[in-house]
Amino acid sequence: MVDYLRWRSSRLYPGQKAWFGREWSRPHDIPLVESVYRQACLRDRIADPKEFVVTDDFIRWARVEVIQGMRGWTREMDAEKFARGQLVDKFVWTYSLYMVAGYGEAGRKKWISMAVVQTSDWLRDAM
């Protein structure tokens, strides 16, 4: 029966452009963010509980190189770019920011709390 569900789910996917289109270039130097992006673009998920959410190792969001990469990305992001992003883009950005803010030292830094406040505004504007 699980095989049946998997077969069905492989046929189910939202439209491509408005949802999965790639509008901005993401920072390719953060492999962790790229892995979130890859997962967000899947239309076929394995019927396994751990596949119900992003599968990432929380602790990796606290790594120095990830935090630095995210800091670089925050400098590039602005309201206009966010609004132009497709659904997947918006998710990867918001989720990555949320995770970096919650783990490690970055959460207490000014640049990240600024980015969190700004992104909250952009999300509200996008509704």
């Binding site: 069905r8 939202p14 439209g15 949320y98 709390s113 909250s120």
Partner: protein
């Protein structure tokens, strides 16, 4: 079930709904009396279930739906799959043409379910880790997704023939 449904339809309906039985093959079932009524009946069940899925709240715990749980979604999903196969079956599709929106409903249901799947995947990812440093990003994402799905009707979605698997 439609009232006074003949025995053959009752048996067919049970076969469709019972998860322990293989789904009947549309090409192999004999002529069905009141076929249009029967298809419309299943169509209405599917519409109700879709509404329940879409309005099922995405909150702290219950974002994911259990198809086999109290909601009893599994029989309805089997009805959907059965109707989908009927639409694809030549000999039945002419009979089904009388039931105007069945093929539209099947397509609609597939798109809606996949949209809900993605929405619950993304919302669940935020919910899994609760912390205050992220401000209101978690709850904002929930509201944003709900607004997004309401504002982009499924009809505009283009079907991509290629299924990607990263």
């Amino acid at each position: 079930m439609p009232k006074n449904a003949p025995e053959s339809i009752m048996t067919l309906f049970e076969q469709i709904c019972d998860p322990s039985l293989p789904l009947p093959i549309p090409r192999l079932i004999g002529p069905v009396e009141n076929w249009e009524k029967f298809a419309t009946f299943m169509g209405n069940r599917i519409k109700t279930a879709l509404f329940a899925v879409i309005t099922h709240p995405t909150d702290a715990k219950m974002s994911n739906l259990h198809v086999g749980g109290d909601l009893g979604l599994f029989p309805v999903l089997r009805m959907l799959e059965f109707l989908r196969r009927c639409v694809k079956t030549q000999s039945l599709s002419t009979q089904l043409a009388g039931v105007g929106d069945i093929s539209v409903l099947v397509r609609h249901a597939e798109v809606e379910l996949s949209r809900e799947m993605w929405r619950r995947w993304s919302c669940g990812s935020f919910v899994r880790v609760r912390h205050t440093e992220g401000g209101k990003l978690c709850s904002l994402w929930h509201v944003f997704m709900e607004a997004y799905l309401l504002s982009s009707p499924h009809g505009e979605e283009q079907v991509d023939p290629q299924v990607s698997h990263g």
